[in-house]
């Protein structure tokens, strides 16, 4: 049998089964102890017996499976049989083995008339499997495809339900409620009513015995704590969820207030707001400078990864700019590292005719208009993949035309210095640019 990856689909599904088994045991062991097997029979042919048998066999099978599940050490998947088995033997094996010993079945074979609560007692080692459930839920919380909020709330829900169930079982025993499903529901009703601090009504204090009073006091205090825990978790979840959005709101609110107080005209305010919202949709992050997001993320990664991502992200640009087609990959890498992204709102001037230029532009997305300011004549409209401004860089002349945006535009800027450097390294690129520039002149 092949060694399985601990994050593979099959191990994950199996873990869910283990968690369900653990939940089953946490529900049924106290339930059978409280109801003495009178609701769900636990005799040799009873439903309880078959359920126990089924879930026990899962645990026993798990014992064998674990010997074939590898582990991760320092980012490395260990899949040699010997260290894997040694590792399992040294870590969880003993607990797992203890937790799946079928003591209850053995006991029943020898003493067929054993009371149900003693059988349930013998099943207590099953509860040790709870640690696996915790590590599984922690793993799901961390795994990429899941929503950690949902995992956390689900775990909280399960724990709460189990606590309510145990309290109900204990109350059942203490109050000596008549054994029936209706009786159990009454105990659960009491448990939930107390733990949620709803507290409709109860037997008058004077008529309660000492253990009843003590247990009720304990449950009420438990309820408050549990409740505080729920609220704390939900509050932290809500805070987490809204963190980046509320940072955006705060920033926007502040600049809006600022502009309003300074009596900047409405039209300009609207432009600023629209720009911010565009940027928000563009990169969902305003905690740092808007445009550096890409670099901000990629900086953390090692060079090889960040270059690969950069190539992917700008696939579009590389394919549509004619002079990049068929270029050497190293050239493209070098160019990508030099390009600075900027985002401009509509009707914004990119180049003013007559200025001395220091950079050229590639259009990543959007549409710009090239026009002559002297005779107010539209020369050309350009779209994604086009580039402009290369003329002034080559010949040190003034800009021969103005360029303004028609839509929101995402441009890449290539500075003169970086331009010269790339020209020196890749003469073929320099020739291409010069050729196109000559044509447009």
């Amino acid at each position: 049998m092949k060694i399985l990856h601990p994050e593979s689909r099959i191990v994950n599904s199996w873990n869910i089964l283990i968690v369900l088994t653990t939940i089953y045991n946490y529900i049924f062991v106290p339930f059978q102890m409280a109801t003495k097997g009178n609701i769900i029979g636990n005799s040799f042919l009873g439903l309880g017996f078959f359920l126990d048998l089924g879930f026990d066999s899962i645990l026993i099978f798990d014992l064998f499976l674990r010997f074939n599940v590898g582990y991760i050490e320092r980012g490395q998947f260990v899949n040699d049989k010997i260290p894997v088995r040694k590792n399992y033997f040294q870590t969880d094996f003993k607990r797992h083995f203890l937790s799946c010993l079928p003591l209850d079945i053995v006991a029943r074979l020898f003493y067929p008339n054993l009371e149900v609560w003693i059988i349930a007692l013998l099943r207590i080692p099953r509860l040790l499997r709870v640690f696996d459930s915790f590590s599984a839920s922690k793993f799901w919380e961390d795994s990429i495809n899941s929503n950690p909020v949902i995992v956390r709330l689900l775990r909280l829900l399960i724990v709460i339900f189990l606590v309510e169930h145990w309290v109900a079982c204990t109350w059942f025993l203490i109050r000596n409620i008549n054994i029936s499903f209706h009786g159990y529901l009454q105990a659960l009703y009491w448990s939930v009513m107390t733990l949620t601090t709803v507290g409709y009504d109860n037997i008058p204090a004077g008529e309660q015995t000492v253990p009843e009073l003590s247990f009720t006091i304990f449950v009420m205090m438990l309820g408050v704590t549990m409740y505080a825990f729920i609220i704390g978790n939900v509050a932290s979840v809500i805070t987490d969820m809204n963190a980046s959005r509320s940072r955006f709101r705060e920033k926007l609110d502040r600049i809006q207030t600022y502009l309003r107080e300074k009596k900047v005209p409405q039209g300009l305010q609207r432009k600023v707001r629209s720009y911010y919202q565009y940027m928000w949709e563009y990169n969902r992050d305003t905690s740092t400078d808007f445009l550096s997001v890409e670099k901000y993320y990629l900086n953390d990664l090692p060079r090889s990864l960040s270059t690969q991502i950069s190539l992917c992200l700008n696939q579009n640009l590389i394919e549509s700019v004619p002079m990049f087609k068929g270029a050497e990959p190293q050239f493209i890498e070098q160019i990508l590292a030099k390009l600075q992204p900027i985002v401009l709102p509509p009707e914004d001037y990119v180049i003013h005719e007559g200025q001395i230029g220091h950079e050229m532009y590639f259009i990543n997305h959007g549409e710009v208009q090239v026009f002559s300011e002297k005779d107010n004549k539209v020369i050309e409209n350009m779209e994604s993949g086009a580039f402009f401004g290369e003329l002034a860089l080559l010949y040190s002349v003034r800009r021969t035309a103005s360029v303004k945006t028609l839509t929101y535009c995402e441009l890449f800027v290539l500075e003169k210095n970086d331009f010269s450097q790339v020209m020196a390294d890749y003469p073929s690129f320099a020739d291409k640019i010069q050729e196109i520039a000559e044509k447009r002149r």
Copy 2:
């Protein structure tokens, strides 16, 4: 018909109507099912029938309207009929169409004696419109003029009320309460009492049936969760509200404690405190360096926008400083980019007589006093729009007089290096300054 902007006033108002219609359906469909039409009649001439008819026609009209509401794509308002219609057809149309099919009216035409709960059942597709309400509320939360806190709390309130109503309707059915408005109120009373965890009293557990007990248990747990959600939201709202204020408090507290511990004299402590409070009122933000706020905000914006804002903000200065009047806009832009704002408390020295100066000052707001330290004689008082310190920059001589603030002053500083640069680029500005300096000498 013209294509409407999705953020235009008319579309917004219409969205409110759609939200109200959805709320109506969420209230009335369960209400009619629970009360079997005995409180609000649903016969052909009953009030319920006319209400249903009216709200349904809104939904049907909405179906046609949506074909004329454009959408935003990458910051661009799409207002061509063909893509707009295609887009609507591909996205929400099917759901909207399904949700406004008048199945109940058709059914009633064929089977006039239909029971009310079946009619209500046929209206269930109406509830699909809830997604539009969520997107509308999200839009309001983001829109600039609204207060996001109020939108969030209002949404929370509506959801809570609906949940309470549904619980009341279900309890009404389960308990078989006699059908009347008083009976409904009793059910609502039970629902609110349970969900808010008030829990005055209830039928003793032993007298409740299994579905009653189960439902009560479910509602109590729902109540706790809902409650946790309310608290989480309110807590996050309060945190958001106070964020910048409490940052200010923390900073002020810290410096106060620091000065107190170091036994700095009371008078000096008071000055520091007063300065901080002035700055707080001045820009409501202490998370960054006090004076860089303007630059901090404007840095995020593209150059064209930030220049426009800068021109607006300093309108006052530009108009009041004589030498700026009638200057070329490009010159003013260049100057504005160089000016550094500083804020000084009253009685603070700006210039000491005899020092070698490296900068000149423009008064944006406040009053300063020019005086000679040698003969302790006041030379001049200056107010907003005035400038001083230009002398030493021009002739490399020592300051000929001291300048101190009389009130809190917001000044702009122009450094010598920047000064020389602007002088070189704009000789006319240099002449003006020289002329005034000669006069004052």
Copy 3:
């Protein structure tokens, strides 16, 4: 009469009186309406009448006082009578005037047998004064000497008590409880029990009338919201209180975990921990680099203030270092700006014999030992005010002795470059140092 400062002690005390008056009215107006004056008599000689009269006269006097309280505009205290009065007339006067019209007393003069609830109705304009209470509490929250946490909680407490009181009064009316103090207490008991979600028990729903049920439902929902608000506030208060401490804890925990995981020896770990705790006591701030705190705070302030504080803080050093005594203030300012503070743990080497030195040290606090490493002989112990290391700087020779700390030491370092610069500017200082260095050589 002199114009009073709005933050002076007398205006502050008066504001407390106004807040008390407002609270009185918010308590008594609804109380008298609910109890119809049967508990606290409101006849011409009754207690209620005198109370009303007394508190009304405060409000009337306030009207006159306000004309003599200045205001703050852009950090400037305006104390000219004319603008002060104009300002008051344009802002709060109308509301204040309306709120203190003694309509009830006039009405009683004309209709002596007026019912109490009508009199209470005529006192409703008094409630308009609540806005002043809010602005007063906001002012206290901001003021330096108060604890903002206590102000916020106190305000919350007052608001909660008032809400409970109003709910009690309304319930009193709706339930027709017999008019007596015991009756009022029962209503208050009901109100608090419902608003706090304690909810012991209540009249069975079936026996309640429609207004009773409706009001109860409203109060329960109010209770939950109010409760959420309390929790949100308390949670935010707790977070604020612990912010800087928990940042410290987090940092310390992280470095401890780091060192433990990397298996750094226990002794070294203890040293690091001890250093951190010393620094925590030293400046209570770990969010920024430890030692830059002083500079961090002072950077925000204008130069004149920060210089004054710097002089105060280092008073000790200036007085104890012999060569600073009697030096020119400008020299001391320049030196202070150059000194870099460092903190060293006990038994730490400051200078190693034989190394080439680039800095000299001043002892601000603590004790160091100068000793020769070659013959292991203690040369000298030095304390606050002493300085060392000047030798190597003057002659470019190697350190002639080692220096180690005996206690935790706060030192100031003067770098060679800065040293040379100050030497050039202040030859007298250079001479002094040289003189002492010659002596010690």
Copy 4:
């Protein structure tokens, strides 16, 4: 007797005893007052008398012990007898002396038939010791080895239990419940039920007396506040616990969303995720740049400490790299300061054959493969302690082979400039490298 360190084990254990004594007094003084000594006898031979006697003697002994416990002043442990005793005498002595006066025992000697509640009254000064408990719990919270979360929650729990106990004792007195343990439990049941807002049921309001009603109202309001406090604390604890993990989650979520939206291929996404998780395990901190963690922590510390830690951390490297063995410590220090850590994922190129190199690498952890790209032949596999890339640095030739990682690798980079500098300072090191390089060539 030797002066004890205030943080020594013995003083800590003693403090726990003092805290327990205080808790005892806070429980028993009100209990005896409420039950009038009828449950736990307080006569000369009763259990209560012996308990009191025992705990009192602890307090009296404490008085003497404190004179031998030193204190910390500015990071320095003061252990001279005279200042220690003077300090204790001036600070806590008076309070401690007052709190342990055995007034009750004296009173009993003179008036043997004294009522129990008077004796309890005479024990009230004992309650003054609560301040010591607070300072002790604060100290535990700060101490390194404890978990501050547990300390805070434990303290909260104790305070809550005490409040519940006092409320129960007061209710016991007000309601005149029959004196028995069952009676006390009933009072405690009422107290907990009210404070936790469970509120099952209570005596109908109309049958309660004025003090009962008033006290109940007070307790309900106390309950809400206490509850808010619990929730606030628990929420802040949860937030603290998850702070660094949720920062990691947020960062990972953001980059994942970013990559997904930009349609980066699944395989590349998986690589990025795997890299992040490796880094998370590597240093548990993503708030700053991944690799600068070490420097980030060490920067705060004085040079001597950070160098010692650096030596410890890289023990492994120093021992395994052959040329470091036996090197001078100062040389190693200098090298360590220059090395830059990087982490690379598996299958990542470190060196490309034919490139001009600017740095050499040391392997701290992991495995790399050296191979020739021309003939696709594996030259060598290298592990922890090996180094490579030194060739190109020495002779300015192109890389003679490619190197790629086989596992996750933690490398240290030594830049050419730093390399030359160290070579100049330590010619012996240069020789060693050259020797090895010649061999490998």
